[in-house]
Symmetry: C2
Subunit: 117 residues, 2 copies
DNA sequence: ACAAGCGTATACTAGTTAGTATACACTACC
DNA sequence: GGTAGTGTATACTAACTAGTATACGCTTGT
């Protein structure tokens, strides 16, 4: 399985093919962090960054932030907030959906979205 | 709103009315932590304990651990694991359900549980 | 009088998080 | 051959987490 660092390095290098501003240094500068730190993150020398920094990185690399946060071992704090407001209810729901296949969960999402609620 | 500390103190004192073993000292001993620490937690002098310790406390006090974790500002790590495996899917679902009333979410839980899936 | 149990004040800490700051070695350009 | 840009090695750190350990003062039963 690909690690967080490997993923973002691959993604950055890929973007760089068509845009030379995607160097470690320039990306780090745009994000407001040290290039040496980004380098360490990409090589997995340090653990993935904070939620905020991971978000900036997702934005910079044009990837979904929930996905990148997940690779960083985190869950977006706004989702946590939703759960924390009704922990038992959401706890039940999520555990119920744990083993469900993607298409079943997706059906549920659509049902809620367009449904008559 | 009631804080974490106030809640567990109230709950412990309530249990103590019918069972004197619910003193700070004895509960702490059963949990394997220092009484002084439990005391500080109850008075809100320190931030709520770790997930593991919060779980022990929930067990000791006979309350739902998801609920108590929520009061501690946390989301159970097993729920986080479920989300982290399919972050985009669950992200969508949870944000969709954010504003839904309890009964609607509950209906969904039941639908999944007994549904023809 | 004193031991047992109570809550708490006080002092301390190992480990982790999330980075910064600087300097070094290499390549490419003009 | 200098300079501009690259990735990275190295050294350091402030703040936070999640507690422990000990001692103090109070009450209560014998």
């Amino acid at each position: 399985m690909q690690t967080f660092g490997q993923f973002i390095r691959a993604r950055r290098e890929s973007l760089r093919k068509t845009d030379p501003t995607y160097s470690v240094r320039q990306v780090a500068k745009r994000m407001g962090i040290q290039p040496s730190y980004l380098s360490k993150v990409e090589r997995g020398e340090v653990s993935p960054p904070s939620e905020e920094t991971t978000r900036k990185l997702a934005h910079e690399l044009g990837v979904d932030s929930d996905m990148l946060l997940a690779m960083a071992g985190k869950v977006s704090s706004d989702l946590q907030d939703v759960i924390r407001k009704r922990p038992v209810l959401f706890g039940e729901l999520i555990r119920e959906l744990k083993e469900m296949p993607d298409h079943a969960v997706l059906r549920l999402v659509r049902e809620v979205r367009d449904g008559e609620w």
